[in-house]
Symmetry: C2
């Protein structure tokens, strides 16, 4: 599978997990190329709304341009949603991180697998908690 | 333009109108083919959330299978959004109709241009009103 189709498949899996859990969720069209800030997945349960930037990586850490995170926050604030970064490492487990849980490395943000395990939420925790 | 690209262009236009008005909006990926209920556009302003099924037609009336409207309502209820049907007729003006403003015709719902003009909201009215 191409890098893009791996990402799409992961987003579809996450959307399916939300529906399975009684939430509604959608994948956003052209989220990487839109002229407007847009996350990869938007989900809601009638009360909470989540805007999620999704990443799949085989590496031990994932890097994010500052602008990507700024756009996630802009979308979330304007729409009225919680901004989250969802990362699926080689472990195949999704970890969900708040922006403040990312590390700042020069002009980028980053999240290591170790940091994700320590500070991130599992899917069940993400949908179980009110922030 | 193909039928599909006309629809995509109209959805992009609507998303742009929302951002212009200070709302956040996204087009939904694969909204016609997803295995989960999904509208074409989701928009929010921090308080209100709208789930919109979008249609463009050159005809004087637009028909909707009952299932399409049921899925819009399922998504909207689960996510926590207002369900709306946005129709752009030849007039090029968007009209936004609530489900109860559609006409029931046998096994379909329908909206005529006349009914849209009479009962529908203009974009400014849609974003201006609280239901």
């Amino acid at each position: 599978m191409s890098r893009k189709s791996i990402g799409t498949a992961a987003e579809r899996q996450l959307v399916g997990m939300f529906w399975q859990a009684g939430w509604a969720a959608v994948r956003v069209a052209g989220s990487g190329s839109s002229q407007h800030p847009s996350p990869d997945v938007v989900a809601g349960d009638g009360t909470r709304k989540l805007a999620i930037e999704c990443k799949v990586t085989e590496a031990k850490a994932k890097y994010f341009p500052i602008d990507e995170i700024a756009q996630l926050e802009t979308f979330a604030r304007t729409f009225g949603a919680e901004p989250w970064i969802g990362i699926k490492f080689k472990t195949l487990t999704w970890y969900f991180l708040a922006v403040e849980d990312l590390d700042r490395t020069g002009t980028q943000f980053s999240a290591s697998l170790l940091a994700a395990k320590r500070k991130g939420l599992l899917f069940e925790e993400l949908i179980g908690i009110g922030r």
